[in-house]
Every structure is written in structure tokens, then in C-alpha cells.
């Protein structure tokens, strides 16, 4: 509001405080990760990064198979991200632009699945995964991740496809003899690619940061994702906070780098959501 007025100084002050609150914990993580455990327990605290980063980072890599865990996280989050982008676009397209029997009921059930707390069914989920012989494998995370996180994406893509693509355009393509698949792949998907990209990103971030399920199904260090590797850095009889923070920082770094490049699109994508107007 007050759109025509000058921005008041206190607006910047308050926003500055919010930004500080958002960034400080990460900065603090970095400070401890560049010094050592003693810094984390020193009062008054030291708030300037030290020169110990490479020493601690080296320890992270020798304590747990960290490179492998980052790779695993990339495989898991990458597959889930791409999978979400594709599956949600496809299903969203079907719900938005195709006519078929049971469409409304099926769409309603998609929305309803969003309200089903599947996380609390971990016990039977574990039984299913183990009866498939998938305990301690990456597909034990990928396939449930593809299925359970995508309802929101379908809803989102349906809104986008509905708003972006006119029925006339599709009608014209039909008359030209295009198949449904061609219409999706050649016309619809290119037009909503930015939205699909954001869905993929959100899926990627969620999968990268997931903890509970990988913690239950992954057992051997070679299968760890980055989050489980962080946990494994803490020995049972002693805690090296410097090491733990260094691991946390290194596990967050890939996402931060990614965010620098795609953050703007991610922000735009989230804001371009289904709640405009």
C-alpha cells in the first residue's frame, strides 16, 4: 500500500532485521565451521570467520564418505525433482485440458491426498520397502518421494496449464491431427516449462533436505544422503561442534550455490502460484 509514497526508513530497518534473522544462523554455522569447537563455546563469541575451514572440511571427508553422500543426494533429489516436473505437468495437463470420465472426482482425490498425513505410516512403509528388498537402496527413497510429494505439484500445474493455454489453441492442434501426447509435449509443456521448473526445484530441495525416511531406510555409509552424513558426524561419546557445523555447511553449500543461480526464478515461481487474485 502507499504505493505512490516514498519508502520509509523504518521499512528498510524492519526488512533488514528480517534478512539478518534469515541469514545469521547460516553465517554462524560458517563461522564455527571455519574455526573450531572452542569457538562455539567461547563467550563472548567470536563472530569473524577463522582460517580453519579446510582442516575441518578435510576431517568431514575422512570421517564419513561425504563425496559419496553428496552424490547420493544429487541422484535422489535430481531424480525426484525431474520426476516431479514431468509427472506433475502430465497429470496437471490431463486434469486441466483433457476430458475424461471421473476427472473431477479424481482431481478432488488428488487434492485430498495432500491432507493425508502419510508420514505417520512409516512403520508399514518400512515393511513394504523391506518386502521389496529395497532397504538400504536409493530407490527406497526415490519412488516414495515421487509419489508422496507430488499432489501439490499436480494442483499447481493444473492451475498454470488452465490459465496459460487456451482451448482454441488445443482445438486447432487437434484439427491439425496432433495426438494428445504431441499436444502436451509440443505445445503445453513448453509454455509451462518455467512453472514445471519451479515444481522440480521445490521437489529437489525437499528431497535434498529430507531426514526421517532416509534415516530409517539407509544403513550403510555408502548409501547415506548428505543429511544422514551430517548426523553420522556426531560420535556417540563426544561431539565436535566444529566438525558438525562444517559438515552442515558443506551439505548446505550445493543448495546455496544452486540458489544463487535459480533463486530468482524460484521466488518468481512461488509467487506465481495458484493464489494470485
Amino acid at each position: 500500500m502507499n504505493k505512490s509514497n516514498r519508502v520509509r526508513w523504518w521499512t528498510y530497518l524492519l526488512l533488514g532485521l528480517a534478512v539478518f534473522a534469515c541469514l545469521f544462523p547460516l553465517y554462524w554455522m560458517f563461522v564455527v565451521a571455519t574455526t573450531d569447537t572452542a569457538t562455539a563455546t567461547k563467550l563472548p563469541p567470536e563472530i569473524v570467520p577463522g582460517g580453519n575451514f579446510f582442516h575441518l572440511a578435510g576431517l568431514v571427508f575422512t570421517t564419513v564418505p561425504f563425496v559419496r553422500s553428496i552424490l547420493n543426494s544429487l541422484i535422489v533429489a535430481g531424480t525426484i525433482g525431474i520426476g516431479h516436473a514431468v509427472l506433475c505437468s502430465l497429470a496437471g495437463f490431463a486434469f486441466a485440458k483433457l476430458r475424461f470420465r471421473g476427472r473431477n472426482v479424481l482431481f478432488l482425490s488428488v487434492v485430498l491426498t495432500m491432507t493425508v498425513p502419510t508420514q505417520l505410516a512409516v512403520i508399514p512403509q518400512y515393511m513394504i520397502i523391506s518386502s521389496l528388498g529395497w532397504v538400504d537402496t536409493l530407490q527406497a527413497i526415490i519412488l516414495p518421494g515421487l509419489g508422496l510429494g507430488s499432489a501439490f505439484g499436480i494442483f499447481w500445474m493444473r492451475q498454470h496449464l488452465g490459465a496459460t493455454i487456451s482451448d482454441e489453441l488445443l482445438q486447432a492442434a487437434r484439427i491439425d491431427g496432433a495426438t494428445t501426447w504431441q499436444i502436451f509435449w509440443r505445445i503445453a509443456f513448453p509454455l509451462v516449462r518455467p512453472a514445471a521448473f519451479v515444481i522440480g526445484l521445490l521437489g529437489f530441495v525437499t528431497a535434498w533436505n529430507d531426514f526421517l525416511w532416509p534415516f530409517i531406510v539407509l544403513k550403510s555409509p555408502e548409501m547415506y544422503t548428505a543429511q544422514i552424513a551430517i548426523k553420522a558426524l556426531q560420535n556417540s561419546f563426544h561431539i565436535d561442534l566444529g566438525l558438525a557445523m562444517s559438515g552442515s555447511f558443506l551439505a548446505t553449500l550445493p543448495l546455496l550455490v544452486l540458489f544463487v543461480f535459480v533463486g530468482r526464478r524460484m521466488v518468481a515461481g512461488i509467487m506465481d502460484g495458484a493464489f494470485k487474485g
Binding site: 514431468v86 518400512y126 509435449w185 560420535n235 556417540s236 561419546f237 561442534l241
Partner: protein, 426 residues
């Protein structure tokens, strides 16, 4: 037309490839190539130095490949083992901590009976009360003990000096023949320095004292008696007394603050079973030479100790058993003790000069071998049941609650007993 079919096929192939790539990675990693009798998978927990034994064994037995996984804490390792047993994908060899063992002994069908493999022949080498804990009702032996946790107290000589207390380990041991005397010493220390004496009451007082009687939470025939056992009540009251005396740093064992406090000298004393010494060394590397080890109030006790077991579904039980026999023979346990400080479970080596002569420079050259074996020789073994760890945890929780100033000391015992009843149903 072509496109319509091609794209889904390409997609499906891509997904399938990714999945099989993951599956392949999983297959070659944790599970062993079938038919290779020279390799096996071993789950241990962190902080117990099994790596040393594994490396030794591999040096002496070239060609044997052991995939050692330090799953997490001992409790997390037991949880992982349970899920693995339920899920069917198990390691060939697993280290189980003593308190977690009874649950597995009760379900002994999940493990190889080690008798046919040769356990009958060697079981006499080990302390009989330790062996009895890994023996199921039907006589099946499911675990071979790797170490016992004889007990002692680690203390900071420099801080004791500042407080005007003696620093010599003999004299320090004489300061606290009983737990009451221990608490009195703590009061003196805190009065003199204004600092906390011991890390916490739950672990360093209750958990030690309760492990010193002939009967803990179960009677010898396996009935729960935690609420009537005098030993338990005594230990509990002592811990409450310590908590209320204001001599504890209120740092729960194995927490961040506990680690940091140890490094910074926030407290001067920690109850230290033999396996704890390594933890102190890692938590407070800068305090080398400032520690010493004295006898524990009451003299004897055991906390901890672990067992090696072979799950039923193991791909290579023979290789695992060979590892057990070679690394857990009396002589091998003695060697391992010299390297890592884990106390042997084989009494035949307790008088060996290699054990009695061992001195630990980190702890002011304390003769740890003698101190810890002495604490075992006076030990009266007690029965450990499937709910022992839950019961112990609830008692500790109640004490911590009082220590933190949240709980009513007078009601703490009844609350703990009620909680245990809820938790285990009896």
C-alpha cells in the same frame, strides 16, 4: 507418430536406468558378492574402536575383506539391527551393547546359535556371568563378549589441587569409600571453588551405584523387582541427594554441553567405565596429563560391555565366526586392551603383566588395567532383562528432572516407578 511412442519410452528407460544404477550401487556396496567366502559385513557402533581390531585381523589374514560400518550410538545400532532383522537384509556380524542384548536373546531365532560353530569349546575362556547374558533359555549362545565395562572415577588433578583436595589416586580413592563420602567430597570441592564437582547425578551417581549390587531390576529368575529392590532405591536416593547438594554441573552425559564442559573444566569428576576413557581423550584433547583415575565408591561394578553376534540371515557366517574366534581369544583381547583400553572378558589374562603393567599417559600414567580389573573381581553379577535399559532410562530421567530443578524430589521415585509401569506394562 514416432514421437508419441518414443518419448515415453525414452523417459521410462531413463528412469529405469537411474534406478538400476542406484540399485547397482546398493548391491555392490553393502551386500556381499555371493560365493566370496573371504568377505563379510560388520556393524559396530561409534566410539568403541572396532576399527583397530578389524585392521589387525585384515593384516594377519590377507585377502579377507571386512566392511565395517559404524552405524551410530550403541542404541542406534541396536535399532538399526532390529529394522534390518525385520527387513531381511542383515550384516554378517554385529556388535550389541550389553543393555540392548536381552531383547535379542529373547528372540534368539534371529541369530545363529554359535555352539555348532565352536562356541561350546571356548565359552570357558570368558567370565561366566558375562557369558550367561548371551545365552538363551534353550541354551543357545548368540553372542561372544568383547569387553566388560569395569568401573572407576576419572578426575582432574589440577582442579583438585586448586580446591585443596589430595591429587594422588590412592588418597583420592580413600576420600570416597562410599557414595555418601563422594557427595561430601563434592560439597567440599564446590565450597572451595564455587564450581561443579561432577558432571551429573543420573549417570555418574545413579547409574554407577545401581550397577554395584547383586540384584538390579530383575531377580535371578528374571522377574522384575525394580520397585522393591533395595539396591535400586539406595542408588536412586543417593543420586537425588547429589543433585540436591548442588555439586553437579547438570550436564547430561553425551550432550553438547557435556562435551564442551569436559574440555573447559566445568566439572572435575566423571564416572568412567573403561570405555569412557577414550571419550574423555577425544572430548578434551587439551587436558592431557591433567586427569587421573581412582577407584569408584563401593569399589566394584560394571557398566557396559558388548557382544559379537551373527544374524541368522548372514551371508557368510563362517567368515564372521573366524573373525570372532581370532579377535576375541584371551590373547587377542589382551592385545586389544593395550591398544584401545577395552577391558578383556577373559579372566585368564587379568594377571598378565601386559595388563597389570599398562599405564595411560593421558591419565597421569594411571595403571588402568589393574584399576579396572580390580573393580570386576569384586563384582556380584546381576540379571539383565529385556526391559533393563528402559527401566534404567526412566530412573535416570526422573533424577535429571530433579537435578534441573523441575521435579519434586520427594515424588521423584513414585513418578519414576509409575513411568516404568506405563512403559513396560509391569
Amino acid at each position: 507418430m514416432k514421437l508419441r511412442i518414443a518419448t515415453p519410452v525414452v523417459l521410462a528407460t531413463a528412469v529405469a536406468l537411474t534406478l538400476s544404477a542406484c540399485g547397482g550401487g546398493g548391491g555392490s556396496g553393502p551386500s556381499q558378492p555371493a560365493g566370496n567366502s573371504k568377505s563379510f559385513e560388520f556393524w559396530s557402533f561409534t566410539g568403541i574402536d572396532q576399527k583397530v581390531s578389524v585392521e589387525d585381523y585384515q593384516k594377519k589374514n590377507p585377502g579377507v575383506q571386512i566392511k565395517l560400518t559404524e552405524v551410530g550410538s550403541s542404541v542406534e545400532t541396536a535399532q538399526a539391527l532390529t529394522t534390518a532383522l525385520a527387513g531381511g537384509k542383515v550384516p554378517d556380524l554385529v556388535l550389541i551393547q550389553g543393555d540392548d542384548l536381552p531383547k535379542f536373546v529373547q528372540q534368539s531365532q534371529n541369530f545363529h546359535d554359535l555352539r555348532p560353530l565352536g562356541a561350546d569349546k571356548i565359552k570357558g575362556d570368558y567370565l561366566d556371568w558375562v557369558m550367561s547374558q548371551s545365552t538363551a533359555k534353550g541354551g543357545e549362545i548368540i553372542g561372544i563378549p568383547t569387553d566388560v565395562g569395569g568401573m572407576a572415577v576419572a578426575y582432574r588433578t589440577d582442579l583438585f589441587k586448586e580446591a585443596g583436595l589430595p591429587t594422588d589416586r590412592e588418597e583420592v580413592g580413600k576420600l570416597w569409600p562410599t557414595w555418601d563420602a563422594f557427595i561430601e567430597t563434592g560439597k567440599k570441592y564446590t565450597a572451595a571453588t564455587g564450581k561443579a564437582f561432577v558432571d551429573n547425578a543420573a549417570t555418574s551417581v545413579f547409574y554407577q551405584a545401581v550397577n554395584q549390587g547383586p540384584q538390579k531390576y530383575y531377580d535371578p529368575s528374571g522377574n522384575v523387582v525394580y520397585s522393591t529392590s533395595p539396591q535400586v532405591k539406595t542408588a536412586f536416593d543417593l543420586a537425588i541427594k547429589a543433585a540436591q547438594a548442588g555439586i553437579t554441573a547438570k550436564q547430561s552425559s553425551f550432550s553438547e554441553g557435556w562435551s564442551a564442559g569436559m574440555a573447559k573444566g566445568q566439572f572435575a569428576v566423571i564416572a568412567a567405565p573403561s570405555w569412557m576413557l577414550g571419550g574423555i581423550r577425544r572430548n578434551a584433547p587439551d587436558t592431557e596429563g591433567k586427569w587421573d583415575v581412582a577407584t569408584i565408591p563401593g569399589g566394584a561394578g560394571n557398566w557396559g560391555g558388548s557382544y559379537l553376534a551373527i544374524p541368522k540371515g548372514a551371508a557368510n557366517p563362517k567368515a564372521a565366526w573366524d573373525y570372532i574366534t581370532k579377535t576375541q581369544s584371551p590373547q587377542a583381547q589382551l592385545e586389544h586392551f593395550a591398544k584401545s583400553g577395552s577391558l578383556p572378558t577373559t579372566p585368564s589374562v587379568y594377571k598378565d603383566p601386559k595388563l597389570t603393567g599398562l599405564k595411560d599417559p593421558f591419565f597421569s600414567d594411571a595403571p588402568t588395567g589393574t584399576i579396572y580389573t580390580n573393580s570386576l573381581l569384586g563384582l556380584k553379577p546381576f540379571f539383565i532383562g529385556p526391559d533393563s535399559s528402559t527401566i534404567g532410562q526412566e530412573f535416570q530421567n526422573a533424577i535429571t528432572n530433579v537435578e534441573q530443578g523441575k521435579g519434586d524430589a520427594a515424588k521423584a521415585w513414585d513418578a519414576a516407578v509409575a513411568n516404568i509401569k506405563t512403559a513396560i506394562g509391569k
